[in-house]
Amino acid sequence: MLAGSAAIFALVMLLLLIAYRRTPASHQSERRQERFWLYGLGLAFPLVTLAALLIYGLVLGETLLPKASENVVTVRAEARQWSWSFGYADAAGRRTQGVLHIPAGRPVDVEITSLDVVHSFWAPRLAGKLDAIPGQVNVLRIEAAAPGEYHGVDAEFSGPGYSGDAFTVIAHDPAGWGAFLGRSKE
């Protein structure tokens, strides 16, 4: 996408530069010029490029949707000014503050909601953003490829404490995940 954009940008700049460097071809009819500039460059060129890009984007978007799957883990994220609280379907009653535990290598559905204003759940290395909206539950599919700690932030302006409103996602290996769930049963 970046390379394509750079190429289009270079093309426009080049056409602009050449306009100043050439002697105008006055023999060309207005109609022919219209055909080249408007039908060709103005209409056909963007339509083809954009169609390809759009379809690519939509196909990719479809694959990112939460699909039914056997081993999906469901967790819950509740935003408030300015902290995050997480709950776990596999461990009823267990809540963690500011730290979300997930298993690595398994799809995780995060049910996101808010207790006060609009926030947005964003763990950049795991998935895109999804807003936390009061009165509504949005489901975001995330998956951590490897165990480790991932950074997450609130990504919708939510008042004076917004800048520091962050959380951590800890992805566990199977043993660690079992231990986390087990500990919660105690």
């Binding site: 169609a51 939509l58 479809e62 949707l65 939460p66």
Partner: protein
Amino acid sequence: MKEIVRIVIAMLVWLAVFSALYGLEGVGCAAGWHRIPVNGATLFQAAMTIAFFVALLILVAVLVALRAPRFRSASPFVAHISIVLAVAALIAGAWTLFPALALSHCA
């Protein structure tokens, strides 16, 4: 005023059918049409598919009307612009609404 109507009508109709399909999608999901089976598909799919083709038909009708001697502008300039925009509206209809046929529902 009639000339202005000729110029804006096609895109206005596009905006109307675009909003209508978006609204239908919202209503369908809210009412749970995607869970009602109809002949191997769902009520949601059926409704969206029919709506898509109806929308395109309406846009074709606008294009045909703007070319018809009865509604066509006497000014070549306005006639040209109105027909170009009717074609544009038809392309825009197909371009912006094709997800109604292809994408997953209510997810």
